[in-house]
């Protein structure tokens, strides 16, 4: 069966590549076609996702109600302490605010919320409409900050100014305003910041614990289980360990430029990537603490000896099965491709909403002949690829899940809605279990695709 070409618009042809067919030159980072059923989100969404896990900050959405309603605790970013972040605060702009401006309302809302909840800082998100009516958020924030004595930080996240990636950048700029304002005394030499993990299903805690066992202290968790005071002194850390999601890379760059904090790009997903990440951090601190390599080796060995028997079982069952990947950022795709390989599976489709040229080249390098690589896809395309490649499991987000299920294809959520930690060594076992439970589920015997009724 070949792809029904009619579902692919000519203008999208250069955003799709089949490895082995011609030179690789994928067009990306393009605005979605008007009229597209795009799976992409907006700047605000990007900012909200990054900043939201900071649990003792107030997150106020300045805009009409929807933007706040849709982002009310939809992502399970856990906190070990305060949970102010799980509340949804909105100025709920009304017609008269749109006409006369919403500054006064914003001011009042901040006053009231700060008095009642005594947050350590406040983030104020602008939405599209605020960008249009021209509220001077910056000034309002400055005056409230002065009055209340806490940082009140505007986030320039008007949705129309780009895609999610622009939102990550706005979030980084907002966080950066806090840095350098806290006391750094007492931070050990072996002190790091963990960037780019959001503590979904408690993943940050797993990673933090690995570092602890290596003898490293975490200064700031950015942003999973994050705290404002930690962010304020984060510049005192010796190293930024950045999960290369793109989400917090900009922040690492800013910190390097202003405070000289170097950074390492890592990934906690998959066995190789996880081990590699710990070793690279150990390597960084080797001069300061010669014992760290041994401790890290011991840690990896211990974890692996627990993990491998489990993985072997799953591998036996999954070898030869086919996987498709469509995720928000391309970084995740790299790790997923490697993880599937470890499970003996074949990746036949890989794509993302917001990958860069560099990302796609790397994907091209690590995938097999015939793999489809796609940027900013839509449901029709994805469906036709899934069918063509007779996929066993699809990894995606909320909008992809029902498509897979309708086709009778297994699914694994690697996005906001993951229920089990997928990072770390333990995460790999969870991932394997999840893939296994979906791929090998007997329910697929009932679906028409498998019993020959389609």
């Amino acid at each position: 069966m070949s792809t029904d070409v009619s579902v692919i618009h000519t203008e999208r042809k250069d955003q799709i590549h089949r490895k082995g067919e011609g030179d690789f030159d994928l067009s990306c980072n393009r605005d979605s076609l008007a009229g597209a059923v795009s799976q992409r989100a907006c700047v605000f969404c990007g900012s909200r996702v990054v900043l939201y896990p900071i649990a003792d900050a107030l997150h106020l959405v300045h805009g009409p109600i929807g933007c706040a309603a849709y982002t009310w605790d939809i992502r399970g970013a856990l906190s070990s302490g305060p949970e102010l972040h799980r509340m949804s605060f909105s100025t709920d702009l009304q017609e008269r605010d749109v006409i006369f401006g919403g500054e006064e309302k914003l001011h009042k809302a901040l006053d009231e919320l700060i008095d009642r909840h005594a947050p350590k800082a406040a983030f104020v998100y602008s939405t599209c409409i605020v960008g249009i009516i021209g509220d001077d958020i910056e000034t309002v924030c400055a005056s409230v900050a002065e009055k209340k004595g806490i940082p009140v930080v505007p986030v320039q996240s008007e949705g129309f100014k780009g895609n999610k990636r622009a939102g990550y950048h706005a979030a980084c700029k907002a966080m950066f305003r806090l840095m350098g304002t806290g006391d750094t005394s007492g931070i050990p030499i072996l002190g790091i910041n963990i960037l780019g993990d959001f503590n979904l299903a408690g993943e940050m805690w797993i990673i933090k614990d690995y570092f602890r066992r290596m003898g490293i202290e975490t200064v700031a968790c950015i942003t999973g289980d994050g705290r404002v005071d930690d962010l304020r002194r984060a510049h005192g850390a010796s190293l930024n360990v950045v999960q290369c999601s793109g989400a917090t890379m900009d922040l690492a760059d800013m910190m390097k430029k202003s405070f000289g904090v170097p950074h390492l790009r890592v990934s906690y997903f998959g066995v190789e990537d996880m081990a590699e990440s710990l070793y690279s951090v150990a390597h960084f601190f080797q001069d300061k603490d010669p014992g760290i390599m041994d401790r890290t080796r011991a840690l990896v060995k211990e974890e692996l000896s627990r993990l491998y028997p489990v993985l072997q079982e799953f591998r036996k069952a999954l070898t030869g099965k086919k996987a498709a990947i469509y995720v928000g950022g391309a970084f995740k795709a790299f790790s997923l491709v490697r993880a599937f390989r470890l499970l003996g599976m074949q990746v036949v489709l890989v794509g993302s909403q917001t990958g860069t040229d560099e990302d796609y080249r790397e994907l091209y390098e690590i995938t097999d002949e015939g793999t489809i690589i796609v940027d900013d896809s839509n449901p029709l395309e994805l469906t036709s690829f899934l069918k063509e490649k007779d996929v066993d499991v699809f990894v995606g987000g909320v909008k992809e899940r029902p498509i897979a299920y309708k086709l009778g294809v297994g699914f694994c959520d690697h996005n906001h809605e993951r229920k089990e930690p997928l990072e770390g060594f333990i995460g790999m076992a969870n991932f394997a279990r999840e893939v296994h439970s979906s791929v090998k589920s007997p329910v697929w015997r009932f679906v028409p695709r498998r019993n020959g009724r389609v």
Partner: protein, 458 residues
Amino acid sequence: MLLRHTSKEIVNRKALTINPAKTCQPIGAMYAALGIHGCLPHSHGSQGCCAYHRSTLTRHYKEPVMAATSSFTEGASVFGGQANLVQAIDNIFTIYDPEVIAVHTTCLSETIGDDIPQIAGKAQADGKIPAGKYVIHANTPSYTGSHVTGFASMTRAMVDYFARSSGQRSDRINIIPGYVEPSDMEEIRRIAVEMGVRIILFPDTSNVLNRPQTGRYEMFPKGGVTVEELMSTGDSRTTLALGRLASGSAARALDTRCKVPCEILDLPIGLNATDAFVDALRKAAAVSVPDTITTERGRMLDIITDMHQYFYGKKVALTGDPDQLVSLSEFLVSIDMQPIHIVTGTPGKKFETRIREITGEVPHRVNIGAPGDMFLFHQWIKNDPVDLLMGNSYVKYIARDEDIPFVRFGFPITDRIGHSYFPTVGYRGGMRLLEKILDALLDRKDRDSPEESFELVM
């Protein structure tokens, strides 16, 4: 304690909504538009809104939800979205080939002031709309109203764009089901069929958002009211509009445009409201109520009488949309329960008056928030505890923190199934609601009863 930051002390708030009990207009418009067969909803604004609406609908229905967006960028936000929309219309008809594109605006395009009919006219003039295909629209800025008014506006647009009178009255009856689940729409149709009444139901999301697993993904599933049916609504004998807020506007428009008289009823949730619906249908179509329906009614009544002692005096806090809350409160009061905290995010004076009437006899102070939010709702509950909570999935936080039995009802329900398949309207829907309420109350009783009063037979 997920909502530990909710304080007991209530202060008057004007500038701010905390934990909303509503969402924005476009999602309602999108939902309504999905109830037209072969329709692709289109969000005229930046792509974020559209992604959120689709995700939220998908979480609630566990179904793929298709909608296109004008993908505004900075340029469009400054110069207006005409070029985007014209191009979008062209692309959509070329790639996805729907019968209808239902455009709704967003806060952004409204603030810029885009004129959709004018832009659609341009697309028409430029030949971008193929013959026999349609572009309709509704204005849905979210700085007024809520998802309910968005639904109402798109439903009304179906009348404005399609209804026409041929001069020949048909024997059909229009039913506008209101902002209810696909399962409810299906049930309303079933009742009409059972009574031998020919109807046009619009919008109709059954078989769109509660599809069977077929191994196929269809962009345009087989459900939905057809354009042809919508056109002939102008010839129908009468219109029954269920839910004043969600359906009233479309019904009145049919009356004005095509002289189809209308009757606006409460959503048929509960015994009395279903009686009223069945009776209106009987009169409008000049049919008699068949035994099958009478039997269903009798069964529902049987549950109520059998179990009435468990309802007695139970205090309930409910949150949701106005049309639902009116019928639900009436139902609860009618079975001797006491709705004492009632919150909707959708503003409305009439609603408040109506609820006051309904709860007039409740021997307890009744709090009504319209508009209110879930923070206030929670505060009321803290100050004056209840025996049962009813509302969407977000209410589960309150249920857990306060340890109160909880029945899911409304939108969105993101953590349970059932609402897509089993109705809460009609007598059978009423039976299901009763079962849910009783399960919640009796499970709690079982959990909390001391050994000597833990009973096998209840």
